[in-house]
Chain length 454, copies 2
C-alpha cells in the first residue's frame, strides 16, 4: 500500500512519451485506475498532456476525457484544434459531450460542432440548449426504440441485426413510439424473453409509461428515482415526443455534483471547481473575487467598533471579546444555514415556511445562547474580577446567538424564494449582519454600564 | 405552483386518521411525492406518525420507511414494538435494512432480529457486521445465481418458475458459481436471448468476472464504477465466495451521503444529520457539543489580544482591524481547505504530497495576501491619516493570508494521513491557529512601531 501511495506514474508517462512508445502508454493507461490517470495528467506539462492524447487515438483519448474531472477535460480540449476536438467529441457519450461543450465559448463550440458528423452535431445542439439541471440537460440520446406496430419477432431480429451498435448502449428496455415518435409504451427485455415471436409489442408493452418532460428539474428527478425502482426514465418534449432517456446514474452523479458544489460555494470556492493543476492567475483571481466582496462587508461590520472607540478605550478588555463573539455567532449561524440548506434539498421545508424555521431556531438559539453566554461571561468575570463585565459579555453572546441562528436559518429560505443560490450567499450575509449586531450589543451594553466596568 | 407550494397535506393525514379511513390514507400516500410524504410525517405528532404506519399495513409502511430520510425512519422505528418492527424490516431491502439496524442500540437491534425470519436475520447480521463505507456494508443480497453446471434452458426454466420472486429483483445478470459458491462467471440476460437452450451456461458466461471484495472501500467502488459501465458488481469474501452485489446506484447514493455529510460537518453539524423535526434537546445538545469546543479554542486565540492590552490601549483603532483580519484569514484558509478536501476525494492528491500543496497555496496566498493587505492597509491609512497604521495592518493581513492558505491547504492532508476526518476538524484547527497568528502579527508589529502610531 505504502509503495502504491508513493508511486509517481507520471514519470512513466514522460518516459513513454520520450520513447514514443504508444503501446506501452496505452497499456499503462489500461492498468491505472481512473484517479491515477487524472493525477498523472495533472502533473504533466500542458504540451505533454496533449501528446498523451495524440498518441492514444480518438477512442482511447475520449475514454480518458470522460473519466477525468470536467474542468480538467475542458482545459485539455480547449487546446486542441477544432477538427481534432470534434473527432474526440464524437466518441464521447451524448450527455457528457453536452456538458463539456457548454463550458466552451459560443465561437469555439460552433467551430467544433461544424466539424462533427451532422447527426451528432444536431443532437449536441439539442442537448446543450438545456440547462444542466433539468432532464433535457441530463438525458442521453443512445437508447432503443421501436414502432408500436412491430412484433416481438421483429424486435428480436432488429437486436440480432444491430447487435454491434446496441452493445454500446445500456439496454434494458426498448421504448415504443407511434409513427410520429410519440411515446406510448415501454417494453422490458425480460418480457421479450417470455413472449411468443408473433406477439405484437403493443400487447405486451407497459402502456402510458412513466416519463418526465425535458424541463423536469434535478430535484424532481431525484425524488422520482427515490420513488420508483427504475434505471432510467424516458423524456418527452412538449408534444409528447420521445427525445431521450435520463438514467438514474446520471441523476445520481448530478446530485453528487450539486452537493460538492454546495460545499465548495459555502467555503468560498466560486465560479466553478478549482483544481491545483489550473493556472495560478485563474486560481488566485477566482478566490480573490470572493475575498474582496468579503473584506468590504467585514469593513462595514467593523465600522460599528469605530463608533464606540471611547467605550473601548475605557474598557480595553472588551477588545478581547469582540472577535470571540463575532466568530462564535458565525459558528452558530452556519449550523442553522447548513440545516436549512439540507432540509430545502430534501424537500422537508418550503421557502415560504420561514416562520416555522424561525421558531425552531429561536428555541435552539435560546438554549445554546444561554450556555455560551454563561461560559464566556464566567471567563470574563474570572479574568477581570468584574461581574458587570461578565454580565455585558454574557448578555451580548446570548442575544447574538439567537440573532445568528434566526438569520442563519431563514436567509437560505429567502434566497431560495428569490431564486438565488443559498449555498453561495448565505454565509456572507450571515456573518456581516451577526458581526455588526454582536459588536453593537457588546459595546452598547458596555456604554450603558460604563461606570461599573472601569 | 403557488397553490401546490402552500399545500398542507398533513392536514389530510390528520383527517383520515380521525375518520380511520385507511383507504383514503393509502390513496393520499400513493399520490404524494416522496418528499411531501416525509414533510407531512414530520409535521404530525409522534403518535400520529405511528398511527399512519399502523393503518397502512407492513408492505406500504415499509415503502415509506425506505423513502423518508434515514434519521426520521430510525426515530419512527424506535417507537414500534420489536415484533412489529421486525415485520416491517422484513419488507425493506437488505442494504437499507442493514443501514437502519446499525442505528439501533445492540439490545434493540437484537430484539428485532430475534423476531425476524431466521434467513433474513442471518443476512441482516452479515450485512450489519460491515462498516457502511465498504462493499460489505453497501451490498444487497437480492440477486440471481446459478450453478456452473446449468444449461441456458434450465436457467430460463428457473426464470419462469420463480418469476414472481425475481420480479422484485433488479435483474440484468445471473452470477455463475461453483458448487461451493465460488464466483466463476457472470451471464448477461441478453446473451441468454441469443443462445440455444441446450448450451451450458459455462460456455457463454463471462469468465473470471470483475468483482470486488467485502472490504473494498467506497472511494475504490466509486472509481470502479467510473471506469466500468456496469450497473452492479459482485462481492466475494476472502475465500472467493459470492456474498452479495453492490449496485452502482447504492454507491452513488453513498457518495451523495458522504458529500452531504462533509458539507454538514464543515458547517459544524456533527454527530449525524439534523432535521428540525427532531426533539429540541437533541438538536440543541449536538450543536452545543461543537460550539463549546469552539468557544474554548476562541478564548485561547483571543488570549493573545490580552497580552497586548497596552499597545491596544495606546492605539485603539487596532481593535477595529482585529476581527477583520481574523475573519478574512478564516475565509482564505477555508478556500484552501475546500480545494484540498475536494482534491483528496477526487484522488488528485495523496496525503503525503504536503509540499506540493503547500507550494501551490503559497503562490496563491502571496498574490491574494498582497491584494487584501493593500485594500485593508489603504482603508486604515485613509481612516486615521496615519501611513504607519496602514503599513502595520497591510503587512499583518498579507502575511496572515499566506499562513492561512498554508494551514488550510495542508491540514486536511495531515488529518487524512492520521485517518481523521478532514471535513470535521480542519475548520477549528485552521481558525484557531490563524486567529492567534493574525492577532500576534498586528499587535507585535504595532508594538514595534508604537511611537509612530500614536
Amino acid at each position: 500500500m505504502q509503495e502504491e501511495m508513493e508511486s509517481r506514474p507520471w514519470e512513466q508517462f514522460e518516459e513513454f512519451l520520450e520513447t514514443e512508445d504508444a503501446d506501452a502508454l496505452r497499456q499503462l493507461i489500461d492498468e491505472l485506475p481512473t484517479s491515477e490517470i487524472a493525477r498523472s495528467l495533472s502533473r504533466l506539462s500542458p504540451d505533454d498532456q496533449l501528446h498523451v492524447l495524440e498518441r492514444l487515438g480518438d477512442k482511447d483519448a475520449a475514454a480518458i476525457i470522460e473519466e477525468i474531472p470536467d474542468p480538467m477535460a475542458v482545459d485539455l480540449l480547449r487546446r486542441i484544434p477544432a477538427d481534432n476536438a470534434a473527432r474526440l467529441f464524437e466518441e464521447i457519450s451524448s450527455d457528457e459531450r453536452a456538458d463539456l461543450l457548454k463550458e466552451f465559448d459560443t465561437d469555439a463550440a460552433e467551430a467544433i460542432l461544424a466539424e462533427m458528423e451532422p447527426e451528432k452535431a444536431i443532437e449536441a445542439r439539442l442537448l446543450t440548449g438545456y440547462p444542466s439541471e433539468v432532464a433535457g440537460g441530463l438525458m442521453i440520446t443512445e437508447y432503443l426504440w421501436h414502432y408500436e406496430t412491430a412484433t416481438v419477432g421483429a424486435v428480436l431480429q432488429d437486436f440480432h441485426d444491430h447487435g454491434e451498435i446496441y452493445s454500446d448502449y445500456d439496454v434494458q428496455y426498448t421504448y415504443i413510439v407511434t409513427k410520429d415518435r410519440k411515446l406510448v409504451g415501454v417494453l422490458r427485455l425480460r418480457d421479450l424473453l417470455l413472449a411468443p415471436r408473433h406477439t405484437p409489442v403493443s400487447t405486451i408493452m407497459v402502456k402510458s409509461p412513466l416519463h418526465v418532460t425535458d424541463y423536469t428539474s434535478l430535484t424532481e428527478l431525484g425524488a422520482f428515482f427515490d420513488e420508483y425502482e427504475l434505471m432510467g426514465v424516458p423524456v418527452t418534449d412538449v408534444d409528447g415526443r420521445l427525445i431521450g432517456i435520463v438514467r438514474r446514474e446520471d441523476v445520481d452523479e448530478a446530485l453528487i455534483d450539486r452537493s460538492d458544489s454546495d460545499y465548495l460555494k459555502s467555503q468560498g470556492i466560486v465560479g466553478g471547481e478549482e483544481l491545483r493543476s489550473m493556472p495560478l492567475w485563474r486560481r488566485s483571481s477566482r478566490r480573490l473575487s470572493w475575498l474582496s466582496i468579503n473584506i468590504f462587508l467585514n469593513m462595514i461590520a467593523a465600522s460599528v467598533i469605530a463608533v464606540y472607540q471611547d467605550t473601548l478605550s475605557a474598557v480595553i478588555a472588551l477588545a478581547v471579546f469582540l472577535p470571540i463573539i463575532s466568530d462564535m455567532s458565525g459558528c452558530s449561524g452556519n449550523q442553522a444555514v447548513a440545516v436549512s440548506i439540507r432540509e430545502l434539498s430534501l424537500g422537508l421545508i418550503k421557502p415560504f415556511e420561514v416562520l416555522r424555521v424561525w421558531f425552531k431556531e429561536v428555541a435552539v438559539g435560546l438554549i445554546n445562547g444561554t450556555v455560551l453566554g454563561l461560559l464566556l461571561g464566567t471567563a470574563a468575570w474570572l479574568w477581570k474580577g468584574n461581574g458587570y463585565l461578565g454580565l455585558v459579555v454574557a448578555a451580548a453572546m446570548a442575544i447574538n446567538t439567537v440573532v445568528a441562528v434566526s438569520i442563519g436559518g431563514t436567509v437560505p429560505l429567502f434566497l431560495k424564494w428569490l431564486k438565488s443560490d443559498p449555498a453561495l450567499a448565505s454565509g456572507p450575509i450571515l456573518t456581516t449582519i451577526t458581526d455588526m449586531c454582536g459588536f453593537l450589543l457588546v459595546l452598547s451594553f458596555a456604554t450603558m454600564m460604563l461606570a461599573r466596568l472601569q
